[in-house]
Symmetry: C2
């Protein structure tokens, strides 16, 4: 009987390999993969001692089961809790966690596990990159956003006074466990926000996937096998781009579709998540990228309308007007964009598109055009 | 006439290439190479804007000339000063410099220059690794120690409460400029401390170089062409090891000859530099490594005496008894060694030797043997 149950569980799993030579690793996706976390981690880090970093919210829901799974696999571990929310991605938490990992006497062959959403993953990854100049790192993302985006690709980091994610490292995990059943308890707003990144993969380079999402998004939200498929296809899309361009020299910039506008919007509301969370910023940013592409006569209004319909269908905001409260003037947005790290020597880099699935990197965008476009969007 | 002067200057320069594939870079060594810093940096980072990090002491001596050289090459730059001394290798300075680099609006293709000794190089390199997840980095080491050791190999970092260099990154520079004339103004104690690392390269793998040093050390101290040769041969030795093992998986550990004991000693005196500076710790540590190797019957007393004579000749300390003030008991040393990052899963890793130039990595050293050895050394 047990064999059958195990087989069934195995059958439900999907695996995506991120191919980076000696630093290759697997993303294991499916309902319940977290229950086997101990065995999975022991397989990639045999004999390691662990520090598990978790935020307060996730700790309440999942810490106990997670620790039991580690104990069952004989993995000695220390649990380090961080406050929930973006404000934990700061120098102070970075320092505190580095100190605590050292206080736990973890050695170079030991590992650090991030159990949580993007904030915990980014912060913990940077800690893992820096302690002893690099320790093994495992991601157990508990939000859709983290499963399809931040846990894949090795970008880690914290925020600075001058902007988000401006301090960090490229540090690849040894393993990612994406348990799609965990998403059942995710607030709908957070699920939608993560879905914006899922839709992004279709929009940037995979029209058939976007079409599939238009037909199947309700099942993805409901938690059927379609959810696993959507997560796996998103991870695969990101993994392919990352494998081709690990350090973001070129093609990887495509993943920033919607992000330059999105980040600027998040900064413009001082990262007040009551007004805009990251995925919502990406949704609005993707709409702006399409509208800007239309203004540059790269796509027509039919394409813009198609994108807008799908994002609206799933309940995502699609316009700066959807953001509650007053927004700053276009000049403030331009200032933020100029400080964004996707800028190179004064010329603005944007991800534009020639159609659904046909995004491209444009490095020589005239700031005046962007400024005029934003003024229109903020006025109307 | 000018061509002749330039030729003469060119003739005096030695160049060592650190071969790391796409991340390869040159170390340019010689009297006066800093005068051409602007042109050299412009050649590797054309059009870059720079942040120059310098400590207060070096700023007084060299900042003006350095800035003029950058200006002459048309390199726009911001100067960021840090307090002199090891205490600058801390989280607070790391955060402050990251913020200041961002405030200066440096972009991803821009560069960060470390002008100073090992402290400035290690700290600045970590900042360069982290801001925007990696900016270009140039080292202009102004101490012998930094020229032959810390500026080569890409190890960067800061100190933690639990020990030195426990937080950092591997981040290779794009260029290293080692001006050997600058060392004329270095205090003799600092020159000697750096010389300990020079001697180390002979001891760990190059008996002919150690023999050459025994014959030529006075000229190295005096500043003749022998100094350039000693710096170049040291850089080459380190570059060869680093090229073979960039991330310290194996052979690179040889460079830690004398460092496990040395670091423990530095920590045991709470990094009070009036008592022990790093190079002095390395000198005593190298002696202890040889004496411990003798205790393990790997070398004879003649070899130990030969090493001791040379280190004593140049004026370096060779025994724990040479450290002013009282030292803690062996247990404290063992505790520090256990927390050292060269430890792997409880077994102690030491660099031992079978003779001058024949050091090797021993991963399975019994802690009890080390403890007994240290007790002897602390008592006698």
């Amino acid at each position: 009987m047990e064999a059958n149950v195990a087989d069934a569980a195995e059958a439900e799993r999907t695996q995506v390999k991120v191919d980076l030579g000696a630093r290759s690793y697997d993303i294991k996706i499916g309902r319940g993969v977290m229950d086997a976390a101990g065995a999975e981690i022991a397989a990639v880090l045999p004999g390691a001692r662990l520090a598990v970093v978790v935020d307060e919210t996730v700790a309440k829901l999942h810490q106990k089961a997670f620790s039991e799974s580690l104990n069952a696999a004989g993995l000695e571990h220390t649990v380090l809790t961080v406050p929930s929310g973006e404000s934990s991605k700061c120098f102070r938490e970075f320092e505190r966690l580095c100190d605590e990992v050292l206080a736990a006497r973890l050695e170079r062959g030991d590992g650090i596990v991030a159990l949580g959403g993007g904030v915990v993953g980014d912060l913990t990854g940077f800690v893992a990159s820096a302690v002893r100049r690099g320790m093994s790192f495992v991601q157990v993302p508990t939000t859709l956003l983290a499963q399809v985006d931040s846990s894949v690709g090795g970008k880690t980091g914290i925020n600075a006074r001058h902007g988000k994610n401006l301090i960090g490292a490229f540090h690849q995990p040894a393993l990612v466990l994406a348990d799609t059943a965990i998403l059942d308890t995710l607030p709908i707003r957070d699920f939608r926000a993560g879905y914006a990144e899922v839709a992004k993969y279709g929009l940037l380079g995979d029209e058939p996937f976007f079409r599939w999402l238009e037909a199947n998004w309700k099942a993805v939200f409901a938690g059927g096998p379609e959810r696993d498929q959507a997560v796996a296809r998103s991870c695969q899309a990101k993994a392919d781009v990352v494998a081709a361009d690990e350090l973001e020299a070129g093609r990887r910039a495509l993943l920033n579709l919607g992000h330059t506008f999105g980040h600027a919007l998040e900064a413009a509301v001082s990262y007040e998540t009551e007004r805009v969370v990251h995925g919502e910023g990406v949704s609005i940013g993707m709409m702006l990228a399409h509208e800007f592409s239309e203004k540059l006569q790269l796509i027509d209004e039919v394409t813009v309308a198609r994108v807008q319909k799908h994002l609206t269908d799933v309940g995502l905001p699609v316009s700066l007007k959807d953001v509650p409260g007053q927004l700053p003037p276009a000049e403030t947005f331009m200032d933020i964009i100029a400080q964004d790290k996707k800028v190179s020597r004064g010329a603005l880099t944007f991800i534009l598109t020639r159609g659904v699935g046909e995004a491209f990197v444009e490095k020589g965008v005239d700031p005046a055009l962007v400024s005029d476009f934003l003024k229109e969007k903020l006025e109307t």
